[in-house]
């Protein structure tokens, strides 16, 4: 074996006596062994173990307090993030779905149970997708036509009152102070404050500023506005113009005190402002002018 390896074996105390003798025969390795053996007898100064430990403990206690002030582990941080994510998911889920239309814009869409809603201009409908299974409930501001599929109770909530049905086609009008419900099929129940009105097919009812009017018969099978027309029966010009404001993006000015109170019966189109104004003004002996986006209506006699 290589003498260098034998030397290491000796230093590692794994060499046999024979190997040791062999190594001693070489002068160089013999002197190595003398040095190695002499070094064995060296000792270091003693280590003052207790003093050092005391010093460590003195410095340590100060740090212990700091440790204890830091109880937020990674685990709690993960938990906090999970709570946040889950919480915002729940919050998002609880938000209502909302569909709205601007002026001169109509929208047809389906509710989760395939009930159809036709939203008239300048209106908004909102409902909760997740609670739909438990309660078919929509909130309405404006005017909309509902074709409700058969099922359990269907509610339309407005700021004036609530309309409940089982499966039918009906129109709800809820603008300003006027609340009108027209039933085209089935049976509709209207709740205003404490009173409940049952509305059979082919009738409509108007509630003006909380005053419940009489039931009226309707002949059409759909509301006119669904066919891009508005139908008025003995309605004040003020109300007609309010409706035109929803369908046409113009500002309206009325000149003459008596015009607003005049009553109008007939249909007005949503597609052409000139025809619409003609239909309103001719029977009532009124004239109109269109200047950019401003429409002025005044008495013929005043000219």
């Amino acid at each position: 074996m290589d003498k260098e390896q034998l030397l290491h074996k000796t230093l590692n105390e794994t060499a046999t006596d024979k190997e040791l003798e062999l190594l001693k025969q070489d002068a160089r390795y013999a002197s190595y062994l003398t040095i190695a053996n002499a070094s064995k007898n060296l000792t270091t100064p003693s280590f003052d173990s207790n003093t050092v430990l005391e010093k460590i403990n003195n410095k340590k206690t100060k740090n212990t307090k700091v440790k204890k002030l830091n109880p937020i582990t990674i685990l709690t941080r993960i938990a906090a993030v999970l709570v946040l994510v889950f919480g915002s998911y729940l919050f998002y889920q609880s938000l209502d779905t909302s569909i709205s239309t601007g002026i001169a814009q109509k929208e047809t869409f389906n509710l989760p149970d395939n009930s159809q809603v036709v939203l008239n201009a300048n209106s908004e409908v909102s409902y909760n997708k997740n609670k739909w299974e438990d309660a078919r409930e929509v909130t309405l501001d404006g005017e909309a036509y509902f074709k409700v599929t058969k099922g359990h109770k269907f509610d339309v909530v407005t700021n004036t009152g609530k309309v409940s049905v089982l499966g039918t086609q009906f129109n709800v009008y809820n603008r300003n102070d006027l609340f009108t419900i027209s039933c085209f099929e089935g049976l509709v129940s209207v709740t205003v404050k404490d009173s409940v009105i049952m509305l059979p097919a082919g009738t409509k009812i108007a509630i003006n500023n909380g005053n419940i009017g009489n039931k009226q018969t309707i002949t059409e099978s759909n509301p006119y506005w669904v066919l891009n027309e508005s139908s008025f029966k003995n309605t004040t010009v003020a109300t007609v113009i309010d409706e035109l404001k929803n369908q046409y993006n113009y500002t309206f000015t009325i000149k003459g005190n008596t015009i607003s109170k005049k009553r109008f019966t007939g249909n007005i189109t949503h597609t052409d402002i000139e025809i619409a104004l003609e239909s309103l003004c001719q029977p009532l002996q009124l004239t109109y002018s269109i200047d950019n986006n401003e429409i002025t209506i005044y008495d013929k006699e005043q000219e």
Binding site: E4, L7, H8, L11, N12, E13, R28, S31, Y32, T34, I35, A36, A38, S39, K40, N41, L42, T43, T44, P45, S46, F47, D48, S49, T51, V52, L53, K55, I56, K59, K60, N63, K67
Partner: protein
């Protein structure tokens, strides 16, 4: 289930100190040759261990201590000239030797100590860990984080250097 000891516990920490404190002190003393400095380094190392007790598993405490003590040594004192002091060697055989021999022995011992002080830090640490502590090459390799082959090389170099310094033996 495995019973894992937590370094953050006072008892465990103290037992680690009792087990390794002195060995680490000697290890660093071989390197720097300064008793007080070695004490300071050991103290710092154990305080660091305590501060990081949550991050250091019990099994890793020993190598952690060796590593940070060594790093601290390299940062602070590696550049200083090292003079090691040894306690008077307890040589049993001295009494029955002739006065000439005793003198020779004394001279030899002096030369040896000076020669050891002149070794490189790497050679000296390996050499003294083996000679004074009686540590096997494998243990030294583990402490110094080098291979057994590298320990062999350092030992050979140390012995050759010592032999050259101490003439006429």
């Amino acid at each position: 289930m495995k019973d894992t000891k937590n370094v953050c516990e006072e008892n465990t920490f103290n037992s680690i100190y009792k087990q390794y404190g002195e060995a680490i002190w000697r290890f660093i003393y071989y390197k720097c040759g300064d008793k007080a400095q070695a004490e300071d380094l050991v103290q710092d190392a154990f305080i660091k261990l305590w501060n990081n007790c949550a991050k250091v598993p019990f099994e890793k405490a020993k190598s952690y201590l060796y590593t940070i003590t060594n790093n601290a040594f390299l940062n602070e004192v590696a550049h200083k000239k090292v003079v090691l002091k040894y306690q008077k060697s307890k040589n049993d055989s001295v009494n029955i030797q002739s006065p000439e021999y005793v003198l020779q022995e004394k001279q030899f011992q002096e030369k040896l100590e000076n020669a050891i002080a002149d070794l490189t830090e790497a050679q000296r640490t390996a050499f003294l860990l083996n000679r004074i502590e009686g540590k096997k090459y494998r243990e030294i390799a583990e402490i110094l984080n080098i291979s057994v082959k590298a320990v062999e090389k350092r030992m050979s170099q140390a012995l050759a250097a010592l032999r050259e310094k101490i003439e006429n033996i």
